[in-house]
Symmetry: C2
Subunit: 100 residues, 2 copies
């Protein structure tokens, strides 16, 4: 495998997505959202036990990097996984870290 300029764009994208996920709170968020679960910012910030603004920031990062989608419903905004394959990635991470 050779690193062409085209491929370096792909690598950049993959790295950005992984960087978005690679944070304890954000992994926890993804684990909450496995399957088709949709949760609001408040539900997530209460479960995590961190500031609302910090939670919103984390969710913004995950959305910006294509990991999550959001959907407004009145005062609430629900967040959920963008692709089903991301559930698989979360599982995979779990496996990789358990088999240490």
């Amino acid at each position: 495998m050779n690193i062409t300029e085209l491929e370096s764009e792909k690598l950049e994208k993959a790295a950005n997505m992984l960087k978005a996920i690679a944070h304890p709170m954000r992994i926890a968020i993804l684990s909450f959202l496995e399957g088709d679960t949709k949760l609001t910012v408040t539900e997530i910030h209460e479960r995590l036990g961190i500031e609302q603004s910090t939670t919103s920031h984390h969710l913004g990062i995950l959305k910006d990097k294509g990991v999550l989608c959001s959907q407004r419903d009145g005062k609430n905004t629900f967040y959920f996984l963008k692709h089903e394959s991301l559930s698989k990635l979360v599982d995979c991470i779990g496996q990789c870290t358990c088999s240490e």
Copy 2:
């Protein structure tokens, strides 16, 4: 799912492993090492086209975080994936970023 203190340790570990992987050059390194491939530092730094010391640094991070193992053979040091499940993770990342 609730975040207990025990679980927060697991999250920390998972995040550290992902953080180690979440870099364009390091993803490229992992893609080189899929399967049972073993490569030396020089081979990797030449393929990546970056400094030897930078390459060594990246490899050190991956080794430190439990992603790679190394094996000395004379002047050379070969690096390879620590667990087979990491090949799966690399594939998974590829899938997640292609289906965008």
